[in-house]
């Protein structure tokens, strides 16, 4: 019996063979078909060779993570077969060029179908270039699973955009058509995993970094200074590609120290400014973050985490900078840490960060990670709604305010809220003096204890205020749960999938997801966790950093932890299995 709209495709090969681009195109076709799509990229820290893959999960529902099971494997080289064959489910298929030297017995013994098609030959014959083999392979996948050809054709036409009707588009379409037909004809009848379009209104296919960048764009960010670092670079690259439309200044700097300090300078002068980096670059920004705090200059820093310590695994994922960003730089000061876990939350973090930064005149961190930065998901465009966005610049003095001013302007005025009205340099009534030294209200350096204490308390008051703006952690699932899965950031997806799996087994389970983690939502956390019978902390790191923060803030000890630090993201199956084995087996 056919399984409809619940399957996973995986294309793998050497870097440079284009598994990612092709995979992305296929994901687009599936999105157009109205299906739930989650696509994950996996690559090595090298430009050519090695082994990369792209994996796409498809479903009738909105899928949020990848799965362990693969239904269609599309190896562009031999290594992909050896690496991933064991993931292919019985009944699944391996789409191979006829000449790929694989012993079919290896497949058939596992119940996997060898789908041998002369891919290279088709590419060369129909398209005149064997580089179109990827297209051929994907078209076979579409053919055997019954995805109507028009979706493939449309994506090809899109990709060669302006050159519609061009030779190259036509050639690709010819290759696709031939491969599709042969696949459908020869292997379709015997293949039980099928795709059926579900017409909907057009949907977006977007990854976490694009969502952050788009959020920043909507928030009116006009400045990004940065230094390239995986997996943060694509945020800048997206903004650079749109710089004309957005009127945004994009500056690549000589290092991350410069990048963050230029952003601080720009923010001080009055523009919404950000920088984006990963751990190593963030390490170099540490001193400047303290400068932002002390001078009360708004600053937005994206830290796209990867597996550390040090250079670590540059293209692999991890959630291991939480405590680092909570405590980085000498001394004590208020900061906000946002930890989005979905593209929607990435978008929100992207715009909300600027409001936090400007309202409280503090550094704000957006923590994302390798997995989330590049994983794509199909969503309804309304989920990134421009209507929900507010732009709140906080107590920013206008020229009118300043014109009316009768007293000397005090940049660091002591106020009950802790927020000092901000003048931008340039107005005769608002001469702005600030400094990284502790200071008087007017920005002159201070030595005496009393003012030091007052300024320290003033700054720290802003944290209490910001706490009121922080969104409570999400709780999803059973209200009277026996089991609470606790997580933050990009593990939202797999934990969500795991919850569904466990709930389907009859468990009363819920999911506590932290997407805005500092100032810590202590009261809400206690309210939820004090009522949970069993709590499992799930993190993509070694030490269970969120669990440590929860304990630090509430005293609640989360005894069960599912931690992963291989540099790879969780799958929902994996979490469900580990919860079953590691926790449920022992309670």
């Amino acid at each position: 019996m056919a399984v409809v709209n619940d399957m996973t495709f995986k294309m793998g090969g050497e870097a440079g063979q284009g598994a990612d681009t092709s995979g992305h195109g296929f994901a687009k076709a599936l999105t157009r078909a109205g299906l739930g799509v989650y696509g994950l990229q996996d690559y090595m820290s090298r430009i050519r060779g090695g082994h990369n893959f792209f994996q796409i999960r498809v479903s009738d529902r909105d899928v949020q993570a990848t799965s362990d099971a693969v239904h269609v494997l599309m190896p562009l080289d031999l290594e992909t077969v050896h690496e991933h064959l064991n993931e292919v489910v019985p009944g699944g298929a391996v789409i191979m060029d006829s000449r790929l030297k694989v012993d079919d017995g290896l497949l058939t013994s596992r119940g996997v179908k060898p789908v041998r098609i002369p891919l290279t030959e088709i590419a060369q014959r129909e398209g005149g270039n064997k580089i179109m083999m990827n297209t051929a392979s994907l078209s076979v996948a579409a053919g055997i699973s019954g995805l109507p050809f028009e979706y493939i054709e449309q994506v090809i036409l899109d990709n060669f955009g302006s050159r519609k009707g061009s030779k190259i588009a036509d050639a690709n379409i010819a290759v696709a058509r031939a491969a599709y037909d042969e696949g459908a004809r020869e292997f379709g009848p015997d293949f039980d995993f099928k795709l059926e379009p579900r017409p909907t209104k057009p949907r977006m296919l977007i990854n976490g970094n694009q969502a952050i960048a788009f959020g920043a764009a909507v928030a009116g960010c006009r400045w990004i200074s940065m230094y390239p670092m995986t997996p943060a670079t694509t945020i800048t690259e997206w903004l650079a590609a749109h710089h004309r439309k957005l009127g945004i200044v994009v500056k690549e700097c000589e290092d991350e120290i410069t990048a963050v300090l230029m952003a601080i300078g720009a923010a001080h002068a009055g523009v919404r400014a950000m920088t984006a980096t990963s751990g190593g670059g963030l390490s170099l920004m540490v001193e400047a973050v303290g400068l932002s705090a002390m001078t009360e200059t708004p600053l937005v820093v994206v830290d796209a985490q990867r597996a550390g310590p040090s250079t670590g695994l540059p293209t692999r994922t991890e959630q291991s900078d939480l405590q680092f960003v909570m405590h980085l730089s000498q001394g004590e000061f208020p900061r906000v840490v946002l930890t989005p876990g979905t593209v929607e939350e990435c978008f929100q973090a992207g715009w909300r960060a600027f409001n936090f930064a400007e309202k409280y005149q503090i550094p704000v961190f957006i923590l994302t990670d390798m997995n989330q930065s590049s994983a794509i998901r199909a969503i309804d465009p309304d989920r990134l709604s421009l209507d929900e966005v507010t732009i709140d610049r906080g107590e920013l003095l206008t020229d009118v305010d300043l014109d009316a001013m009768t007293e000397e302007y005090l940049r660091h005025k002591l106020t009950p809220s802790g927020v000092s009205p901000r003048a931008l340099p340039g107005h005769p009534k608002g001469i702005v003096l600030t400094t990284s030294d502790e200071h008087y209200e007017d920005g002159q350096a201070v030595e005496e204890a009393e003012m030091r204490v007052l300024q320290m308390e003033k700054r720290m008051r802003k944290l209490d205020l910001a706490a009121q703006d922080i969104r409570a952690p999400l709780v999803e699932g059973a209200a009277d749960a026996d089991l609470t899965l606790v997580a933050w950031g990009s593990t939202y997806g797999p934990v969500h999938e795991a919850r569904l799996l466990l709930a389907a087994e009859g468990l009363k389970v819920n999911h506590l997801h932290y997407h805005e983690v500092w100032p810590f939502p202590t009261a809400r956390t206690e309210q939820i966790l004090r009522n949970s019978r069993h709590i499992v902390d799930i993190e993509n790191n070694y030490t269970g950093q969120l669990a440590l923060v929860i304990k630090m803030m509430t005293g609640i000890d989360i005894a069960h932890r599912v931690l992963k630090y291989s540099g790879r993201p969780f799958t929902g199956d994996e979490i469900a299995r580990k919860v079953r084995e590691g926790v449920l087996a022992h309670v």
């Binding site: 057009p202 977006m204 977007i206 694009q210 788009f214 764009a217 909507v218 928030a219 009116g220 960010c221 006009r222 400045w223 200074s225 710089h243 439309k245 957005l246 009127g247 945004i248 200044v249 700097c253 000589e254 290092d255 410069t258 300090l261 230029m262 952003a263 601080i264 300078g265 720009a266 923010a267 001080h268 002068a269 009055g270 523009v271 919404r272 400014a273 001193e287 400047a288 400068l291 001078t295 465009p381 990134l384 421009l386 732009i391 610049r393 931008l424 340099p425 340039g426 005769p428 608002g430 001469i431 702005v432 003096l433 600030t434 400094t435 990284s436 030294d437 920005g443 002159q444 350096a445």
Partner: protein, 288 residues
């Protein structure tokens, strides 16, 4: 010309009596006034050190940043609001030591910044350790047998690095320094002004007298032309016996701001953060 008093402030410098920084402060105020600048359209961005306290001591927008980090903050400010007259202020440790890489790269960018380096050839505020411009052999608490590094030659580095204005002044000659700073401000592009600044407390070698015996004005040299790179290079390599002051080199090159598309319609900070809805919706459609 604006009123010099506009730049006065009721804050007594914490510098040691006799410190060369007093002369530099006076010269900057003079230059601002003579160029008809105002406190609100000027911005001083400094590092950390004795000299970097300068923004405290005059009325103007001021940002005392981090040790070594005046330039990137100043560049960010300048690009966000290029109507401000931005001046960066560093010490020698600050500007040539810890901040050396910013110097190397700001020269490639050529933003319209004036950069004053108060070069006392010593770390003043941290109590007298040797600095990157200390003479080789300089004895200090961290170089009890004398330093073994050769000193940075800021003029040569600036020329090799692509600075479009390279000048040197002497804190003991505030009049000449004022003129020099004025030229640096008027220059369109990055202007480096290295100022020989006696530290009366720690540097017992490079004193007022030491400098006075050596400095001479390049303008007094017949035939010297600061537009000639070759001549500039020759001057840049002088030290020890004779130390040239004045404009060593000057060149015309587009500024950073002129080349950034987004700044052509006016200062970036003037734009509202609200972007047109249709632009954003159109971008969203790209994902569909």
């Amino acid at each position: 010309m604006s009123d010099l008093k506009l730049f006065n402030i009721d804050e007594k410098p914490t510098w040691c009596p006799g410190c060369g920084d007093f002369g530099i402060l006076a010269a900057i105020k003079q230059a601002f006034s003579q160029l008809d600048l105002q406190p609100h359209n000027t911005m001083l961005v400094s590092g950390i050190g004795c000299g970097s306290k300068l923004p405290y001591y005059m009325k103007a927008n001021g940002f005392d940043a981090l040790h070594g980090r005046a330039l990137p903050v100043a560049t960010g400010i300048k690009l966000a609001n290029h109507e401000l007259n931005v001046m960066a202020i560093s010490g020698d440790g600050d500007g040539y030591g810890i901040g050396g890489n910013h110097l190397m790269h700001v020269m490639r960018r050529n933003p319209n910044l004036t950069h004053i380096i108060e070069n006392n050839q010593v770390y003043g505020l941290t109590k007298g350790q040797y600095s990157p411009t200390s003479d080789r052999g300089y004895i200090s608490s961290t170089s009890p047998e004398g330093s073994i590094e050769i000193m940075v030659n800021p003029m040569a580095v600036a020329l090799a690095g692509g600075a479009t204005f390279v000048g040197r002044g002497f804190a003991g000659d505030p009049k000449h320094l004022t003129q020099l700073i004025m030229k640096a401000i008027q220059h369109k592009g990055y202007a480096l002004v290295d100022v020989l600044q006696p530290c009366v407390t720690y540097n017992k070698i490079n004193t007022y007298d030491w400098y006075k015996e050596r400095v001479y004005k390049v303008d007094d040299e017949e035939g010297f032309d600061s537009i000639d790179f070759g001549q500039a290079w020759a001057k840049a390599r002088e030290w020890d016996e004779r130390i040239p002051i004045g404009v060593i080199y000057q060149e015309d090159r587009p500024t950073y701001e002129e080349q950034v598309e987004e700044l052509q319609k006016g200062p970036l900070m003037r734009w509202s953060p609200e972007r047109p809805r249709d632009v954003l919706e159109a971008i969203k459609l790209e994902f569909v």
